[in-house]
Symmetry: C2
């Protein structure tokens, strides 16, 4: 069936939508593929829905190919299973909660680990039933604090989520690898430039996890790569600890007057002026910066946390968020300092000197009882200039392991271009990406919480081990648009275009329109999906719309018809070719079927 633009439910817009920050959002709205219904909530118009269905089919085919079986869960889910795994609380305000007419609590599912676990528990009881991989393509909900970029970060969105169930770790590893390979084929078919990076597990729990990121400056995720092949989400980068140092020659920690040195720059300048060192100048890397955060746990309880790191590094907020999830952090305000006089703003340090003796100030063992975690670079024997917990005073020669001991490590300092990869594979380069897929080795967290056990070959009950694997299906539509669009509009790859060919009839000559109709009919009967621009509009409007709508191939039937030719335009390259009318259908079919 030929689709006629005169009847298609679509309107292109001349203006960018006010809230569009990224190109895919701008063009998907301007080309009439999607429409905003509420913040982070979108309606799919006919053209957009065709692309969405094509993405769904690619995903479905690759899941079926590894033997995963499709099911479909509801979106409205009872509270109890999510209570059992603590996610009812851990998800905090990101969960849409619903109370029914009888007062029972429900949620709109953000992911379905609990429900899949219970379903398998309901049906299966023996190791003979495993391995099992089941999946769904389904609408998910997350009440994002900052929905943005159209489909890239929405509050209602479509995901493929699958779950694997195995009797042992080797089985989980095999299921995980099968999914990983399916994802490679899937994202290859979608034509995305992507990287597979190590990732953190966040609220999902579990051990190993990797993300598939579409490389894009519009992405929300930052990742690193090394020449030797290391790749990780910035949140998952681990900092190699330097060797411990011998501090036997370092004198005792001593206070120095450092008035007006509330910042690291001021401190370094004052140090080089007031107590310069002989071998080289002091740098920010010689100082130990201590930053106080308020950590808010999902149940509402909050506590203070001090992070100590070299003064030449900032805390990376995303790395911090990932490290403390599901808790969230809030920086302290002045009144928080006022409430804790032991924390002297600008002069906080792990050690205090009292009557010439260094005593630990921060940490669970210190007088404040405030948790103190340090960067991996703060190894035993390293010596630091740091706050003395007295206004306008710092301490010099504060030695880690001698003068203080942290409660543990927290690897949340910023990662910089050129930092060494943790596996020694060379300097890291930073880039940005869109999270397209995330695969997790969950292990037994959910099966334990919900009692999913089966009988093993010896008749013993054992807990099942699970994997969880997500793909952002609606997000993939935007990611592909983002990677392929240009300053004129969308430019779909053949595999995802809503129509294979757009036939544009120009001018007012009825013979031209008849020829366009006939060509469209020939393409249609050859099995191509054809969009025919049969509108009464100027060639300029039609050409511009064709560029906005982004079908990969556009055929112009117009003035050239008198000479027996039509013009074939490649949307992506802009290339134009004249083709004889009689040969046009065959030419186009060959183009499309490649």
């Amino acid at each position: 069936m030929i689709t006629r633009l005169s009847q298609l439910f679509v309107r292109t817009l001349r203006e960018d939508p006010a809230d569009a920050e990224v190109a895919s959002h701008r063009w998907l709205v301007r080309a009439g593929y999607i429409r905003r219904a509420a913040p982070g909530i979108y309606t799919w118009l006919p053209l957009g829905l065709r692309v969405l269905h094509k993405v769904e089919n690619v995903v479905r085919e690759e899941m079926n190919a590894i033997g995963a079986q499709e099911v479909l869960f509801p979106a409205l889910l009872p509270r109890e299973p999510y209570e059992a795994t603590h996610r009812w609380v851990d998800y905090g305000p990101n969960l849409f909660r619903v109370v029914d007419r009888k007062g029972a609590d429900y949620l709109l599912g953000p992911t379905h680990e609990e429900m899949f676990t219970l379903l398998v528990k309901d049906l299966y009881s023996s190791y003979k039933d495993l391995p099992l991989s089941i999946y769904q393509i389904q609408t998910k909900y997350r009440d994002e604090a900052r929905p943005r970029a159209g489909l890239l970060r929405g509050r209602e969105f479509i995901m493929k989520d699958s779950y694997s169930f195995d009797i042992d770790d080797e089985g989980l590893e095999a299921s995980y690898q099968a999914h990983r390979e399916a994802y490679v084929r899937m994202f290859d078919r979608l034509g995305l430039d992507y990287v597979i990076v190590q990732a953190t597990s966040g609220a999902m729990g579990g051990s190993a996890s990797e993300e598939f990121l579409a490389v894009s400056a519009s992405g929300e995720d930052t990742f690193v790569r090394s020449p030797g092949g290391y790749a990780a989400n910035i949140e998952a980068v681990t900092t190699p600890a330097p060797p411990e140092e011998d501090a036997s020659g370092v004198g005792p920690a001593r206070p120095v007057d450092t008035p007006g040195t509330g910042t690291i720059d001021q401190l370094v300048e004052a140090a080089n002026r007031a107590f310069p060192r002989a071998d080289r100048a002091w740098t920010a890397a010689d100082t130990l910066k201590n930053i106080v955060f308020k950590v808010v746990h999902p149940n509402g309880r909050s506590e203070l946390l001090v992070v100590g790191l070299p003064g030449d590094r900032e805390v990376d907020v995303k790395r911090l968020e990932a490290a403390i999830a599901p808790a969230e952090f809030a920086p302290l305000a002045d009144e928080d300092f006022a409430a804790h006089p032991g924390l002297v703003k600008g002069y906080i340090g792990p050690v205090s000197v009292s009557e010439g003796v260094a005593v630990q100030h921060l940490g669970s063992a210190g007088p404040l009882g405030v948790r103190y975690l340090t960067d991996p670079r703060v190894v035993s024997g390293t010596s630091w200039i740091t706050g003395a917990n007295v206004a306008d005073t710092h301490l010099v020669d504060v030695v880690a392991g001698r003068d203080f001991t942290a409660d543990g490590q927290l690897d949340v300092a910023e990662v910089r271009d050129g930092d060494p990869a943790p596996d020694g594979s060379g300097p890291l380069r930073l880039a940005r990406g869109i999270e397209m897929g995330h695969i997790f080795q969950l292990g037994r967290k959910y099966a334990d919480a919900l009692g999913l056990k089966v009988l093993d070959a010896n008749g013993k009950l054992v807990t099942v081990t699970m994997g969880s694997y997500g793909v952002g299906v609606s997000r993939a539509v935007a990611a592909v648009a983002e990677a392929t669009c240009d300053e004129k509009g969308l430019a779909w790859p053949r595999a995802l275009a809503p129509f294979d060919v757009q036939v544009v009839a120009t001018g007012k000559d009825p013979a031209v329109f008849a020829a366009a109709e006939q060509l469209a009919a020939e393409l249609d009967s050859a099995g191509l999906a054809v969009l025919l621009d049969d509108r009464k509009a100027s060639p300029g409007v039609k050409f511009a719309d064709a560029e906005v709508l982004g079908m990969p191939t556009v055929v112009v039937v117009g003035r050239g018809l008198a000479d027996g030719v039509v013009e074939v335009r490649d949307r992506a390259t802009g290339e134009r070719t004249e083709v004889e009318v009689a040969a046009a259908a065959a030419h186009l079919v060959a183009l499309v079927t490649g």
Copy 2:
């Protein structure tokens, strides 16, 4: 790809689920097609999902065939549009409401009239853009007071909803007829025995509407049919008013002592004993029964309502509910009577006699100010025995139109088998059905409320007229199961079966299993969807499961193989045919593609 039962995610159950009232619910659960996730909320397992997708495709094809265009709206919708049409309030507790993290109100869409109206308003502006029909196949939510019968009345369910937009009434009529015909083709393809009946519009609003009911004793809807072709939902049946009577010969209303006659039966018996009439005995049809209801409006306001109807008829609760929707009713309790001493329980009537003079008691004009509505049979001049509003007393010769005037009519008395059709087409027969589709001529209600206007051919702004058309997609799966299952399990028609053929290998002979595998492979390469029972289980278990699962054709590869034959079983008829192994594939392909 052959699906192996040894690996399919399914388990048949030996026991009926405790909450299963109807056969389709029982068998869909026992056969492992669906699973309850919460009251009225179901999960689709692989077999069920295959049927659901087949129903969706039938619906999609028939909608596309009438030029309707597919879109997809979110389920999570902002409050404002539903506020503008009053449905935010009118839907009352049937609406799932959600508050987001910023305190904004949302709902889970029960139907999408508002959103479609706004979308068309957003895109279109001229009569040249019309007519337009757009649809979606999408998940809907309704917080039913009594979810029941599995998929037949759920709280989360899948619907096809479409909406037509026209410039004038003729256009609406044409769009409505196109949908009606598409529905006929759709339900024919689903193999349902259905009737098209006149219906009420309920909370949807609008003028004409018809329902497609699948005839089934398990249905929640009652409908009537006459030999002459009248068909209506019981809620929509209108009672023909009899001719007015001449009451000039009837004496004045007079009180009679009727102690202990709180029921109609007692009253009729007492009347025939205490004041018998000469020509014939009094019957219940001579009495005017007055029933008090409390009507609760969606905004919470409640009022009393008295309904007067012949004593031989009960009020039909469903007809009452439909008539007063979106308000709901509650019967009065003893304390309500206590609070209204003017209503004497068992002796309520429209008229009181005070000092020998009849005065109106009920109705807006009466001393209680209680609304009084009467059955269409209570025409002017009819004479009744009815309550005197004094304990143990009734009035005789109370004449409608002379002694009292009702505030209006309310046609909510029960309809009985044999009642005359309102169009004179003969006696009505009652039956039950499952509502599969409902088509509405909405008119301009939504376009008016939301300002959907376009320019007409004269450049004048006119309000668009709309239709709304629903199909219960997930419900259709249950309706077909209900119509086709038997005491042994499901029995799918070919068009909807998850697999065309189930191949059952019996015994332990490897040659049998190899032959079954080969037959399955041949069928698979011929394009049939094949389910192969390759389990190590007894023939009895396998045959019973095949009957529970309900594929239309089952092929048994077993003992007969030694004689070169397999057995082909027809699930619906039970018929068994021996077919030569070599000819089996061709035989089955012919059967399926038949």
